[in-house]
């Protein structure tokens, strides 16, 4: 079995975490019985908070622990790490969450990283949907060894930097040899004022636009109150557009 892998990327602050969380909620509601794995692959991120769950440890923490305290010599490290990763996977009724955490530091991690990469890849095979909240550098994606990304979603807001980053990400996928089936652009925080210019500029990037999420006061409100985005009302503009996006991904995926 191979699940549908959706990765969300873009410049910091454009709405990756918001969209990832919305998609996870929508997939859970619209596809009962399907299993969903959320991966927080952005070290500066807060996907857990946006989903309203708590986590204890990251994959990065496991790597650090492993360098400090070595298991007994007769123990197989990979089996040991495998269980550790399973242990830190947050389980909820609707989805599981794995937080990648800090990227590797200065120690030697080749071997441990290789094992962890394999383990995470292997885990994703047990789910129907995998949603990855990824940073713009695509570090985590470039390290995946086996599974392809089905849909790579690049988000941009109405800023030159956001669009430039989207363009860079497109180039980066080629440099890093990241395999994906579809690359889509999603515009976020769209207002009646910026809509025309934004769509015009986005058109120049040569990436198919499959969504245009309005700037939504309900999102800002939840954010301000520190409430998880998954608590958003189904009538809100952002939720409705995220639903449209999800529908396209399910059909394509």
């Amino acid at each position: 079995m191979k699940g549908t892998v959706i990765a969300v990327t873009g410049k910091g602050g454009v709405g990756k975490t918001m969209l990832s969380a919305l998609l996870i909620g929508i997939l859970g509601d619209s596809q009962p019985g399907k299993s969903i794995l959320a991966i927080d692959a952005d070290p500066d991120s807060n996907l857990a908070e946006s989903l309203g769950v708590e986590f204890q440890k990251t994959v990065g923490d496991i790597r650090e622990d492993m360098l400090r305290e070595k298991p007994s010599p007769g123990v197989e490290k990979k089996k040991y790490l495998d269980a550790k990763v399973f242990e830190i996977t947050v389980e909820t009724d609707n989805f599981d969450l794995l937080v990648m955490g800090r990227p590797e530091g200065q120690g030697c991690y080749c071997a441990i990283n290789h094992m962890l990469r394999d383990i995470v890849d292997n885990i994703t095979k047990s789910y129907d949907y995998i949603v990855i909240d990824a940073e713009a550098g695509l570090e985590h994606l470039s390290r995946r060894t086996t599974e392809n990304v089905d849909s790579l979603l690049v988000i941009s807001d109405a800023s030159k930097k956001g669009l430039d980053t989207a363009k860079r990400i497109k180039d980066l996928t080629r440099e890093l040899n990241i395999k994906f089936n579809n690359l889509y652009l999603i515009l976020n925080r769209v207002t009646p004022e910026n809509k025309d210019v934004l769509e015009d500029e986005a058109g120049k990037l040569g990436i198919e636009v499959i969504g245009s999420i309005p700037d939504d006061p309900e999102v800002s409100d939840l954010d301000l109150r520190g409430r998880p985005i998954t608590g958003i009302s189904q009538e809100s503009k952002a939720y409705k557009e995220a639903e449209n996006i999800a529908r396209k991904l399910i059909k394509n995926g």
Partner: protein
């Protein structure tokens, strides 16, 4: 109860995870104190072939969402089955249990973590089914197993008893693994994981030489190679032992030649001179030769100050790493310091003169008692002059080399030159003699001053 297992059994189910919402029962795992699995070799009359014993509740007797202590004991007999095989066979318990649809097994030893899915429970899966299925798998994989019997325990008191007994057996096994010698095996393993950073680097991992990063022991490499023989960890037939002291093996030489595309074709496994093992960039520690005292210093990745030679780890790492053979420098994994082959060619611990105090503390057990206090740390010594004094005061074995060395080496070089009829090549000669080219040139100058050479 029908005897036929009501779920599928096969390798396709191997990576299957049972998530919280799909789980009926959790056996062992981080939230349960006692759990352990063990394989034991028995005498023929001690076990009953094909028998499955359940002590405590069986799967159907639990309620949804329960969590239980868990013990597995696999008893086997075979005329050719040796005690040493227990660990190898035990590793397969994980694989075989995972073949069972709706049963998940993670980890090993006293850390096992299993789950039974709601689906499997509904279909009526019992321990009897599971036990029978895995005993069949064992007999197929290891035809020399003539009899097997399996016990599942969920009764807490019984699991605790089993756990305490198992702990002692694991300890014995660890001792055996630590005591395993390169002579005891025919196969070493290579690791090319770091070739993305250092294309010419390959780690050769033997029972007495852990990978440079310290993360892959011979056991880990063997496990990886069994799963993926063409992957980054592959078997290396060690071949013939060409030199016991330096640890040169014909098979290793052939393997590194292939793995480095000919960039390197000789490795001394236990030496920092001649053809030392290359270093990637990920070693835990670096050893550096200190010609002024004829000894070896060690600095590890976590030591941020300058070492006794005035250089920091990071500076030496640049010189050492990258997959080049750098005589007088060697990257290694800290666990190697426990090995009897640790700098075997140079004289082992009797050549170590300096290392950071936290490492000295960490490997205390490995250091011969009579040398421990003679090795300096940053607490006693911060430069070479102080080091010299310290070593002399403590009577470190390297001190003996200081005076004698000159004459000794002169003789050695002289006879080498005679052997070669006066035709020598400095790079080859220095390697053959186990000294640096600089040292060789100095000795030749001295010999010329003495009038022994023209």
């Amino acid at each position: 109860m029908t005897d036929k297992i009501p779920v599928e059994v096969g390798i396709v189910h191997e990576g299957e995870r049972i998530r919280g919402p799909d789980m009926f029962l959790e056996l062992g795992g981080p939230k349960v104190k006692y759990k352990a699995e063990l394989v034991q070799v028995r005498k023929a009359d001690e076990i009953e072939d094909g028998k499955v014993i359940v002590i405590g509740k069986d799967i159907p007797e639990f309620s949804e969402g329960d969590r239980s202590s868990f013990g597995i004991l696999v008893d086997i007999y075979g005329g050719k089955v040796e005690k040493e095989l227990e660990g190898v066979i035990e590793r397969r318990v994980h694989d075989f249990l995972n073949y069972i649809q709706g049963f998940m097994h993670l980890n090993q030893r006293y850390d096992i973590w299993c789950r039974v899915s709601k689906d499997a429970k509904e279909k009526g899966l019992t321990f009897k089914h599971i036990g029978t299925a895995i005993m069949n798998l064992f007999k197929t994989a290891f035809p020399f197993i003539e009899k097997s019997q399996i016990t599942f325990m969920t009764d807490e008191a019984k699991v605790k008893e089993h756990h305490d007994m198992a702990i002692k057996i694991y300890e014995e096994r660890d001792k055996r693994v630590r005591g395993m010698k390169d002579e005891d095996v025919d196969v070493f393993y290579a690791c090319t994981l770091c070739q993305s950073f250092a294309p010419n680097h390959v780690c050769v991992i033997s029972p007495q030489r852990v990978s440079l990063c310290g993360s892959i022991s011979w056991i880990d490499a063997r496990a990886a190679a069994n799963v993926d023989p063409d992957g980054p960890n592959f078997a290396v037939d060690k071949g013939e032992l060409l030199d016991e002291k330096t640890g040169e093996y014909s098979g290793v030489n052939e393997a590194i030649k292939k793995a480095t595309n000919g960039a390197n074709d000789r490795f001394f496994m236990y030496s920092m001179f001649g053809y030392p093992h290359t270093s990637c960039g990920c070693f835990e520690a670096i050893a550096f030769f200190i010609p002024e005292v004829e000894g070896i210093g060690i600095v590890d990745r976590n030591y941020n100050e300058a070492a006794v030679n005035g250089l920091k780890f990071s500076a030496m790492a640049t010189q050492t790493g990258g997959g080049e053979q750098a005589e007088g420098f060697l990257g290694f994994g800290v666990e190697w310091m426990h090995s009897a082959k640790f700098f075997n060619a140079e004289g082992g611990w009797s050549r170590i003169v300096w290392l950071p105090s936290h490492i000295k503390e960490r490997v205390k057990e490995a250091v011969p008692e009579d040398i421990y206090d003679k090795i300096a740390t940053e607490k006693e010594v911060t430069n070479l002059d102080e080091l010299k004094k310290f070593l002399q005061e403590k009577g470190h074995p390297v001190v003996e080399r200081w005076g004698a060395k000159g004459d000794d080496l002169k003789d050695k070089v002289m006879s080498y030159i005679q052997e070669k009829d006066g035709e020598i090549y400095p790079d080859e000669a220095s390697k053959d003699l186990g000294i640096t080219e600089d040292e060789l040139m100095k000795i030749i100058e001295k010999l010329q001053e003495d009038g022994a050479l023209e």
